[in-house]
Symmetry: C2
Subunit: 329 residues, 2 copies
């Protein structure tokens, strides 16, 4: 910076001013400085700047677990939103949500001077760990299931689940089963709760849900059980990937979808429209979510009151995997 100043015949401080508050510098001087900057290919050191200002414009992103579709979408969407707000994101993705590595990742991020932390973790354990960690920067959890002392921003999973269930009920189904996600997942519990609530509000029976672990394999397994028991004429699967396994095992067991059993998924992964049959599912707008997370975080960072958490509404996409129940009359 001093070099640039020298080349332009001004002090380093003027160079700094050109970069930070150009309007406070004489037009002509500014031109000279800018020329010098280009000629010398000068690039201001973010590091030194961060040290001097005590602001890094950095946000830490912690994510654990699998490369689930919704997961990566959230990460990417948030990253773009952060960039749009002039923040860089430092990512730390851990294979699992364990105390030790989580702690370490957090230490690194904090030592790095991140101004906020976003947790993209579908895992309740991760939250317990975080809660036990007393972080001194704002952080928001990009997952459902709020708690009072924590900021959660998410697409309304509860609502989405109710929509899916309502769709099935509206078609005339009365035995509506649920293929739930793993019990450590917040999203999964919200979806389970939504399904249950919708059934209860309509006075429909609430059968025992069956639990999967998000993988198509688990969907396949549980599908066999659904096929054997004939306990439901419609199944709400907590995600599309499990729904795929479900579809597969239903087909393998000679149960026709949607004739014998209707299936609704959740997520609307790109593949869902081409499952056989094309899957009715609940779509989430991750891009918008990314921006919401960012604006919530910004609100916290800049202390202009914890911004209202708005929570996007999901959308039901009806395709071919749902139909009215078969009539036996």
């Amino acid at each position: 910076m001093a070099d640039v100043g020298h080349a332009a015949g001004v002090s380093h401080q003027t160079v700094s001013r050109v970069l930070n508050e150009p309007h406070r510098v004489n037009d002509e001087t500014r031109d000279r400085v800018e020329t010098a900057i280009k000629k010398l290919k000068y690039r201001r050191s973010t590091v030194a700047r961060a040290l001097a200002t005590n602001r890094t414009k950095n946000i830490g992103l912690i994510s654990t677990g699998l490369a689930l579709h919704s997961h990566s979408k959230r990460m990417i969407a948030f990253n773009e939103a952060a960039r749009a707000s002039g923040y860089q994101v430092s990512m730390a993705s851990l294979p699992t949500a364990e105390q030790e590595p989580m702690q370490a990742a957090l230490d690194v991020l904090l030592g790095q001077g991140v101004e906020g932390i976003v947790l993209i973790v579908a895992d309740k354990r991760a939250l317990d760990i975080i809660d036990s960690l007393e972080i001194d920067v704002p952080f928001v959890v990009a997952d459902s299931g709020g708690s009072t002392h924590r900021k959660n921003v998410a697409i309304d999973q509860f609502l989405g689940a109710r929509m899916a269930t309502a769709h099935l009920a509206d078609l005339g189904h009365r035995a509506i089963g649920h293929l739930a996600g793993p019990d450590w997942s917040l999203d999964a519990s919200e979806r389970l709760r939504g399904w249950r609530t919708e059934l209860e509000s309509r006075g429909l029976p609430v059968p025992e849900p069956r639990f999967g672990n998000w993988t198509p394999e688990s969907g396949y397994e549980r599908g066999r059980e659904f096929a054997a028991s004939r306990e439901a004429t419609a199944i709400f699967s907590a995600n599309d990937t499990m729904a795929l396994g479900l579809l597969h095992s239903l087909a393998d067991n000679g149960v026709r979808v949607p004739d014998a059993i209707s299936v609704v998924g959740f997520d609307d992964i790109p593949e869902a429209a081409h499952f056989i049959p094309p899957l009715t599912t609940v779509r989430q707008d991750f891009v918008q979510l990314g921006f919401q997370i960012m604006s919530t975080l910004l609100g916290l960072i800049e202390e202009r009151g914890a911004a209202e958490v708005v929570g996007t509404e999901p959308e039901l996409v009806v395709r071919k995997s749902t139909a009215p129940p078969a009539r036996f009359d």
Copy 2:
């Protein structure tokens, strides 16, 4: 740091030494310092450290485009590998590979003092941009299709494509079509080249490939054409997602897989095993890839000669979507 020193009755430099070269400090002193660190919850500022040492232990990750499965996998795997080597990664994911934002992202990363840059971009344009940008830190491209002045680390797509094609040929197919990825994709060209080379090496006819854009929709479209023309008894699809669309449209057009047409995909996404029929495909080990990228980059950063690029071998996973061609004799 001075505070810690004070609390432990030593100078700040001793504290620094405890952190950097513990063996050079008296056991007892070290204990005192460590206790003070814990008590004061001291955390060394990475920023100041970076400024003083001129090393940030940061790596920039640029990625563009969709949330493709393979794409996210690469990102996450690389991130974990970087963490394992004590590096942090700063991510910049752009919606598209355009000059302007790419330049900007790069500037931010470089200004941030990253010691290396990894490009996870399946896009040739991105490379052209990068090449025109004269970056002064090591960078490696996590994609196939090497050039001389650039470091590419990838799973051998060419080989994978040959394996897929060979599998089809070995089953007795002689009319083996290709549903290719978009022409801007490096991986796609490598897979196309692999398919062509394998056919040529066996003296089989090389039909015109049909091009998709990675989405299931494009697979569906091209599938209609394949179904109508009956030009092939087997199709190698450049990824699983397009293969799904292909399967779907083949089913819609009454073409049975694998009886009438065999299909092979690429990627082995988790869903592939539950397509109907379960998809024969080519699996890639992204975790290992992540570590390879990292070690290549480390080689470059530490200037211990540009490490050998090893390139993992993909693996053929045979499921139910392939069978010998129907016999008409």
